[in-house]
Symmetry: C2
DNA sequence: GCAAATTTGTTACATTTGTGACCATTGATT
DNA sequence: AATCAATGGTCACAAATGTAACAAATTTGC
C-alpha cells in the first residue's frame, strides 16, 4: 500500500495559494509590530506610506496600482495619513480630477525611521534564511506574478 | 555616480514582507473565484473547509492552529458551514469543552469537487512556473516560516 | 461643439475581521 | 474537596474592508 501520490490528489501542503498565504502572513505579522505598536499604523496605511516614501509624489491611483490596493483603501489611508500630517495633497493643474500626494517633511522623517527598521528586519531575515535562499524568494515572487498573469 | 546599493538603503522591491504579500495576494485572488463565485464561500470558510477535508475530524482549536486562524474566525466559519450542512459538530465526551467538527457526506462530496478544482489550478500553475521553480517555492515557504520562528 | 463614455476620488452601506469579555469545563495547587 | 488558573468556544462591540453608487473632471466620437 503506497502513499497517496501528490500529483493526482489535492494536497493542502502542496497547494500554492495555501503555502504562500501561510508564509506571507507569518512574515507580515512578524514585521507588523513595528508599524503597528510603534507607530499606530494599519497594514494598508504602512503600504501607502511606504510607496510614497520610496517613489515620491504621485496620485492616489498610482499608489493603488503600484501596491495593488483598491482605490477606496488608498483613499482612506491617505485621509488618515493626512490627519497625522505625514502627507499632503496638491491639486493637479493639468487634470483637476487628480491630486498629487506627497509626504511632508515630517512624513519623510518618519519614513527614514521606519525605512531603517524595515532594512534591519530585511537584513535579519536575509541572514536567517541564507542570502541565496532569500534572493531566490525575491526572484520567485516576481516570477509568480508573471505566471499568474498568463493564467 | 553609481546606483543606490540595495544593502544599506530600504528598498520596497526587495522588502520581504512586501514582495511576499504581493505574490501571495495575486495568487490567492486568482484562485478566489472558484470558492467565491462558484460556491459562495469566503476565504476563511474555504480554509477551514479545506482543513477538514484534508485531515478529517478535529476540534475548532486544531483547525485554527493548523491553518493559523484565530479562534473567532474559525468559530464563525464553522457556524456558516454548519448552516450549509457541509459539516456537523459532535460533543467530545472526554472533554466537554471541545466539539469535534467533521464534514458531512455532502460536505465531503463538495470537497471532492473543490479539491479537484484546486488540484487543476495547482497543476496549471506548476506548468506555468516550471516544475522546479514551483517545487522551490513550496520548499522556500516552509523555510521562511522556520526562519521567522527563529527571529 | 456637444452628448456619451471614461476616469479620479469620495461616500454610504454591508460584510468581514479584530479585540476583549464572558461562560462552561478542566487541570493544578493546596 | 476547595480554590484558582488555564483552556475551548461564543458573543458583543469596534475597526477594517468590499461593493456599488456618486459627483466632478476629462476624453471620445460624432
Amino acid at each position: 500500500m503506497r502513499k497517496i501520490p501528490s500529483n493526482d490528489t489535492f494536497n493542502l501542503e502542496e497547494f500554492l495559494p495555501f503555502c504562500l498565504h501561510q508564509a506571507s502572513e507569518t512574515v507580515s505579522q512578524s514585521f507588523r509590530t513595528i508599524y503597528r505598536s510603534d507607530y499606530g499604523m494599519t497594514r494598508t496605511e504602512w503600504r501607502v506610506f511606504a510607496q510614497l516614501g520610496q517613489y515620491g509624489a504621485m496620485t492616489a491611483t498610482q499608489v493603488g496600482s503600484s501596491a495593488n490596493l483598491h482605490k477606496t483603501k488608498v483613499s482612506r489611508a491617505v485621509f488618515t495619513l493626512e490627519k497625522r500630517r505625514w502627507l499632503k495633497r496638491q491639486p493637479d493643474t493639468d487634470d483637476r480630477r487628480n491630486q498629487i500626494i506627497a509626504l511632508t517633511t515630517e512624513g519623510k522623517r518618519a519614513f527614514r525611521e521606519l525605512g531603517q527598521r524595515g532594512l534591519t528586519y530585511n537584513q535579519r531575515m536575509r541572514e536567517l534564511l541564507g542570502k541565496d535562499r532569500f534572493d531566490e524568494v525575491l526572484r520567485l515572487t516576481r516570477e509568480l506574478e508573471e505566471a499568474v498573469a498568463k493564467l
